[in-house]
């Protein structure tokens, strides 16, 4: 419905406790994540980034600050080709980071249906 105005976006980032927890969890899963010095090499080389507006460095920095909005959709553009991981001068395991980010951002995520299959077909 058109009310003649839209809801303004917040002007500043305000870190929350929940966001901090999420970040710590991710850092535990991908310890190399902490090493990033934001050189932008990953974004520059990104295969998907050659076609569309996808900035993995920005995505994970937004995640650092608990700004999760639309990050999941953004991350789906990744083709997992691994160039970013290869050029990173700090050895950040970016492919692992992307998969874990997607897991963290996807609330419905459950490991494959295989567990279900095991329960039904085991032995």
């Amino acid at each position: 419905m058109d009310f003649g105005f839209t809801i303004s976006k917040p002007r500043s980032i305000e870190p929350t406790e929940a966001g901090r927890e999420q970040l710590l969890q991710l850092e535990e899963q991908v310890p190399t994540f902490r090493r990033c010095m934001n050189c932008g090499g990953c974004t520059a080389t990104c295969s998907a980034g050659q076609f569309t507006d996808f900035n993995i460095r920005k995505v994970h920095n937004l995640y650092r600050w608990g700004q999760y909005k639309e990050l999941d959709e953004e991350l789906q553009k990744c083709m997992l080709c691994g160039k970013c991981t290869l050029v990173c001068p700090r050895g950040v395991n970016l492919r692992s980071l992307i998969i874990h980010l997607r897991k963290a951002l996807n609330k419905d995520h459950q490991p494959g249906d295989y567990q279900h299959f095991i329960r039904n077909n085991n032995r």
């Binding site: 080389t45 789906q76 080709c81 691994g82 998969i99 494959g112």
Partner: protein, 593 residues
């Protein structure tokens, strides 16, 4: 007939009945659990004339693998002997026992368990030809016992059969192993006791029987036979739930594999067959770079298959693997370990559709009369390879279309390897459209990952070749005449090209045209992964580097002038290692034009 009954046979009979009932149920469930495509393949194979030669092949393979264990012997003869002596020995023991019974009773009129407990029931079998039977049976028992003793030694010291490590087993399997080991000594004791009383034993049982005091034999004969029967019972009842299920599953697997069944992207009844066909011999542990160089010892094929089969947690075993396929090549049963791993990696709800709409606007190119060249994502980081290929194309006057000169749509294999099936399929559709619309003659690719993907996953209407194949053809045809140099070159087989696509000879052929090829200790199907494989996301760079260093040590043992490879990923990995000269096969050729 009733004179051939004694209560001690009951455990054996019950055990046998349970065993066959459970196996029948399992087989039924697995076969009915095949998916549509697999069933179609089976029917297609069964209903055509191809079935006759394949029946012969199936028979041959079952004899070779289930009884003779040819593959294991090829890997290590001591290990092969151990497996063979128990499998073949026991099989012959049973068969000979039955033949002996048939022979004795002239065909019929005897209960089915008699073959197993023959000596106990036929006590007067001490004349003429029977001595020969008894000796043959003893010989077979001795053969089995020799295998069992090796197995016992191996469980303490695996190097005795040339293995670095023993497989860590579940306690259930360990218990069952003891019951298996007990069966044969118990048989020996039982038959010896009977021989002591009746004199119907062969050279071994009679020899031991003669040493037994008669009173002892009289008291212990029935208890020995009971213990023997009980061991058999325990083993048979628990058998289908243990690793020993591989004994009956392997023939079934061989049948269905020969009928054209393969793993798909989702687990099916065939997957259950594969899971059950693993004997946990541990050969996959032996070659695994993660075990050797990083001491990660819970992710190898054997553990993956075990944990998947028994529903144990296996997140780590699923994710932490280089997918270098060393274990797949080594596996004596030929289990598609990494296909199962990929099924396990299935990312479920993370694997979403319609992610790459931004690629729809990418336009194809009218490449009629040209070939398409796909460098691959990584080739942007190894411009040496693409530049050399351009130079070679120009040198032979081949018109080409650089599909991904500026930007690359990934082939989708990295996604597939990580269990993003739908997303990988979407990327394949995008690339396939570009290739088909271009009407290029054929597709040359420099990256073995893309090569495997285009070749096996794409179903393209045109031929796909790796640049080493292309160069080999050019050299064979005399279109390329590179100068031979005196360089000593060690060639590294990339996993995806060698073990993945069986291309070992072409790169070597090409290299020999320009340089002297140095033999490497571990090469061809035993080549060590460069460690930076895209199949793994769990390892951090420090650990990948350790695997790489092991590969480098293997390659540089003979101090070659440079290392040649045919994969941009491997090339980058080695470049990042200790300063070593690494070049792609294409670069070496381009330099010598």
């Amino acid at each position: 007939m009733s004179s051939y009954f004694h209560p001690f046979i009951l455990p054996f009979c019950i055990g046998t009945l349970v065993l066959f009932a459970v196996i029948a149920v399992k087989f039924y469930r697995w076969i009915s659990g095949l998916d549509r495509k697999q069933k179609k393949n089976v029917w297609m194979s069964l209903l055509t004339v191809r079935i006759f030669p394949s029946l012969w092949r199936i028979f041959k393979e079952i004899v070779k693998e289930v009884l003779l264990h040819v593959n294991i012997t090829r890997y290590n003869w001591r290990m092969g002997y151990m497996h063979r002596s128990i499998a073949l020995g026991w099989f012959l023991l049973i068969v000979t026992g039955f033949v002996e019974t048939l022979f004795h009773f002239r065909g019929s009129g005897h209960p089915p368990w008699l073959g197993i407990f023959f000596r106990f029931f036929v006590r007067d079998y001490t004349y003429g030809i029977s001595r020969v039977w008894a000796d043959v049976m003893d010989l077979l028992l001795l053969y089995v016992l020799s295998g069992v003793s090796i197995a016992i030694f191996k469980s303490i010291y695996s190097r005795i059969v040339g293995m670095r490590k023993n497989t860590r087993l579940r306690w259930f399997d360990i218990c069952l192993r003891y019951s298996l080991w007990l069966i044969f000594p118990m048989r020996l004791l039982s038959e010896s006791a009977t021989a002591a009383l009746t004199g119907n034993g062969g050279f071994l049982t009679q020899g031991i029987g003669d040493m037994m005091p008669t009173e002892f034999a009289q008291v212990m004969e029935v208890p020995f036979w009971t213990a023997y029967s009980t061991c058999l019972c325990v083993f048979f009842v628990l058998f289908p739930f243990s690793r020993y299920m591989h004994i009956f599953t392997e023939p079934l697997l061989i049948v269905f594999r020969s009928l054209g069944v393969r793993e798909g992207s989702q687990p099916t009844g065939y997957t259950r067959m594969e899971l059950n066909a693993c004997s946990r011999c541990g050969i996959c542990i032996d070659g695994c770079p993660l075990d050797k160089d990083l001491n990660i010892n819970d992710i190898q094929g054997v553990y993956l298959l075990r944990d998947v089969r028994h529903g144990l947690p296996h997140r780590n075993a699923t994710e932490n693997c280089l997918m270098c396929d060393q274990c797949v090549v080594d596996c004596p049963v030929g289990i598609e370990i990494n296909e199962i791993r990929k099924q396990e990696r299935n990312k479920g709800t993370l694997d979403t559709h319609d992610n790459y709409r931004f690629l729809d606007s990418v336009k194809s190119f009218n490449a009629i009369g040209r070939i398409a060249y796909f460098g691959g994502c990584m080739s942007h980081l190894t411009p040496g390879v693409t530049e050399s290929m351009k130079k070679i194309f120009d040198a032979v006057g081949q018109k080409y279309w650089l599909m991904d000169e500026d930007k690359t749509i990934c082939c989708g294999r990295p996604l597939l390897q990580q269990g993003f099936i739908a997303q990988a399929a979407e990327l394949r559709r995008k690339n396939a459209r570009l290739i088909v619309e271009s009407h290029a003659q054929y597709l040359v690719t420099s990256c073995p990952i893309c090569y495997q993907s285009f070749k096996k996953e794409y179903n393209l209407p045109i031929k796909v070749i790796h640049h080493t194949e292309y160069l080999a053809v050019l050299i064979r045809l005399g279109k390329l005449k590179p100068h031979k140099t005196g360089l000593k070159v060690a060639y590294h087989d990339p996993c995806e090209l060698g073990r993945g696509c069986n291309i070992y000879d072409e790169p070597r052929e090409v290299l020999q045209a320009v340089a002297d090829l140095v033999r490497v200790q571990k090469e061809r199907e035993h080549s060590i992964c460069c460690g930076h494989s895209l199949g793994n996301t769990a390892l951090d760079v420090e650990k990948q580097d350790k695997v790489r260093d092991a590969a480098l040590r293997n390659l540089t043992a003979d101090h070659p002038d440079l290392i040649a490879t045919a994969c941009p990923m491997c090339k980058k990995a080695f470049q990042h290692g200790q300063p070593t000269h690494v070049k792609d096969v294409a670069e070496l050729i381009a330099e010598q034009l």
